[in-house]
């Protein structure tokens, strides 16, 4: 299947006067098959792109929700090789952009170039390593470039303009803007400074801007879109549904579908 690039996707949804809805799940949570069904449901219910996490034993940038998802996936036998297999399976039913969210040790231990090669082969568009700031990213950046993968970086309120220049120089695909100070997780309200934050990012980069961390309700999606974001990344909300509906898979899928529908609806202007 032909893979849609981020640029093509953002162009497509802009034409429809929408912003991108990008849900996040951990590959293999709670198990390979169910996880695949979950992703299929997310795609059918409006996902414009996907963020797929590879489970890691020590995810320092993540809150309890994603940590628990990582543990479920690892206990179900997930590893990097199966993760790429998972992406291949996803590619059988969708061409929308897929971004991997990993911790750097998975890239390093599997061999940097080898990791990006496998990523490309499986149909991945982009890689974001949560604990890889631009200072340490040279090898990963070069391997990403050589294999035709976008390397995505995080930017936050605390990122100075000086650092932002370094970030956008290496970043491609889209810029992942962290909306709150803290780790991933659901929150009841978003800080109002998001508008300012996005404005500042726009001053430094032409890259599409997607906002993540702490977006758990359609109102949050509306808010960040209104603040000028090109896309909203929704993670913990979907994973919460997985954790809460362990016993009833059909209900889990149904609830995820409903959640995604509402989130996607909120991206329409």
């Amino acid at each position: 299947m032909k893979v849609e690039s981020y640029a093509e996707m953002f162009k497509r949804i802009k034409r429809e006067n929408e912003s991108a809805f990008i849900p996040f799940v951990v590959a293999g949570d709670p198990d390979f098959e169910t996880s695949l069904e979950i992703v299929k449901e997310m795609v059918e219910e409006g996902a414009d792109a996907l963020e797929i996490g590879f489970a890691f034993s020590d995810p320092v940038a993540d809150g309890p929700t994603v940590q628990a998802a990582d543990i479920r996936a690892l206990e179900a036998g997930m590893n990097t090789e199966k993760g790429f297999e998972f992406i291949k399976c996803v590619r059988e039913f969708t061409s929308i952009p897929i971004g991997l969210l990993v911790y750097y040790n998975l890239i390093y231990k599997n061999g940097i170039n080898n990791f990006y090669k496998s990523a490309k082969k499986s149909g991945v568009n982009a890689v974001l390593a949560a604990d890889l700031p631009p200072e340490e990213a040279e090898n990963a950046y070069l391997a990403a470039k050589a294999n035709g993968i976008n390397q995505i970086f995080l930017a936050a309120q605390t990122t100075s303009n000086e650092r932002l220049k370094k970030v956008v120089k290496l970043c491609s695909g889209f810029l992942y803007v962290v909306s709150v100070m803290g780790i991933t997780g659901t929150r009841s309200d978003l800080k109002t400074s998001t508008v300012e934050l996005i404005g500042r990012m726009r001053d430094h980069s032409k890259l599409p801007i997607c906002v993540g961390f702490g977006i758990s309700k359609p109102e949050h999606v509306k808010e960040v879109i209104k603040a000028g974001a090109d896309g909203a990344i929704v993670g913990s909300a979907v994973i919460d549904i997985i954790a809460e509906n362990f016993e009833n898979k059909d209900l889990m899928i149904e609830k995820i579908g409903k959640c995604c529908r509402e989130m996607k609806e909120a991206t329409k202007r």
């Binding site: 890691f56 034993s57 020590d58 995810p59 320092v60 940038a61 809150g63 309890p64 940590q67 543990i71 690892l74 590893n79 990097t80 090789e81 911790y103 750097y104 040790n105 998975l106 390093y108 231990k109 599997n110 949560a130 604990d131 890889l132 700031p133 200072e135 340490e136 970086f153 995080l154 930017a155 936050a156 605390t158 990122t159 100075s160 650092r163 970030v167 962290v178 100070m181 803290g182 780790i183």
Partner: protein
């Protein structure tokens, strides 16, 4: 950042973007104050009056006779709170005060670093919260009580293996969310830059004193220095002043757990591989896929699947040698020092003592002058040792 925090290729700042400004602020404050006169006057005062420095370099006469070497013990076990940890918590605590931080967080395994942080917080009037794995809380109730008596709040960590590495994860998460008012006081020469450099700096006092003391007593440098290595702060502290003295053999002793082939050990440098954990590139214990393994050691201070990056550098450049001592052998060292010298070592330090015995028995090492860094005292380990020796107390 001003510096890259690298030791060869090891070290660095492998952290989420949100932490970078905090590390930049910390690096800049550390570089500003480390040579500042007022800062050092204050630090020296507390090291002397509060912690009990300098510690002696004690000639272990009985052990020397038994093993046929000249053996000196650097008595970090004599310090307040029972170990070298206080050198670093005083340094970072005072730095946090200079930086205007209103809150200090720390991680702890067995509780030693937690206690050393708690007393410094109490002394400086800065509230301390200590992350501790719920498994460790269960095993070390006494230390939890000690921390709480010093006014610290102990936060149970219920994720992952519920031990030290998970406590570090949660402390990092807390710091990410509270960087503005909080200082994260890391207890060993590990973590992202500037921690390895900074913790080493605050522990070099061990090496500086040792060098002066041995020159005074022997009029020459020792043949070897032996220290235990968990995260690696007591060892890097004493090694630091001898790195350029190539004739001095530097030996780090890791926790061999149930044996290097058992899969249950903390011997990161002996048996680990290169990887990124808790902010730096170093040797770590991991599986083929890069998932971090759990470490095992009878001594909580050596029970960590990573190691400070400078040790990785010293290993690959062959400047230091790293060996492992099993749980069982460490208990021999524990008994040896207690019986012959009347000094009950911490289980961590007992690993170094036991390697000393092995080292001294090698014929070519006969008559050598050896310094063992006695990083801590064994009071905290009484229950564990009694259990291992099958003694009821």
């Amino acid at each position: 950042m001003i510096l890259d925090g690298k030791f060869g290729k090891y070290g660095g700042i492998f952290v989420p973007e949100l932490l970078i400004p905090a590390l930049e602020e910390l690096e800049s404050a550390f570089l500003k104050y480390k040579d500042d006169k007022d800062f050092n006057t204050e630090l020296d005062y507390y090291l002397r009056e509060f912690a009990g420095r300098p510690t002696s370099l004690y000639f272990a006469r009985n052990l020397s006779e038994k093993l046929g070497c000249k053996i000196y013990l650097k008595r970090e076990d004599m310090l307040h709170t029972g170990a070298h940890k206080i050198n670093n918590t005083l340094g970072q605590g005072i730095l946090a005060k200079y930086m205007g931080k209103k809150r200090i967080i720390a991680e702890t395994g067995a509780g030693q670093h937690g206690i050393a942080t708690a007393v410094v917080g109490s002394m400086l009037g800065i509230p301390v919260e200590v992350y501790m794995g719920s498994e460790d809380i269960e095993r070390q109730k006494l230390n939890v009580f000690r921390m709480e008596l010093s006014g610290a709040k102990v936060i149970p960590v219920k994720t992952g293996s519920r031990t030290l590495k998970d406590a570090i994860n949660d402390a990092l998460r807390d710091w990410i969310a509270n960087v503005e008012n909080t200082h994260y006081l890391i207890g060993s020469s590990m973590g992202p830059h500037p921690y390895p450099m900074m913790v080493k700096h605050f522990q070099t006092v061990i090496g500086k004193e040792t060098k002066n003391q041995i020159l005074e007593k022997e009029n020459e440098l020792p043949d070897a220095i032996i220290a235990c290595v968990g995260g690696g702060s007591n060892s890097i502290g004493i090694f630091s002043q001898f790195l350029d003295d190539e004739e001095v053999e530097l030996i780090g002793v890791e926790g061999g757990g149930e044996g290097l082939d058992s899969g249950k050990h903390g011997a990161t440098l002996c048996r680990g591989s290169e990887g990124v954990l808790h902010g730096s590139l170093s040797f770590i214990l991991q599986n083929d896929d890069g998932q971090i393994s759990e470490a095992h050691s009878v001594s909580a201070g050596l029970d960590y699947p990573g190691v400070g990056p400078e040790h990785s550098y010293l290993k690959v450049t062959d400047r230091a040698k790293y060996v492992a001592i099993t749980n069982k052998d460490a208990l021999r060292g524990f008994e040896l020092l207690s019986k012959y010298e009347g000094i009950i070592p911490a289980l961590e330090s007992a690993h170094a003592v036991e390697y000393l015995e092995k080292y001294a028995k090698i014929p070519e090492n006969e008559g050598k002058t050896i310094v063992v860094n006695l990083s801590g005292r064994g009071d905290k380990d009484m229950f564990i040792v009694a259990r291992e020796m099958e003694v009821k107390i």
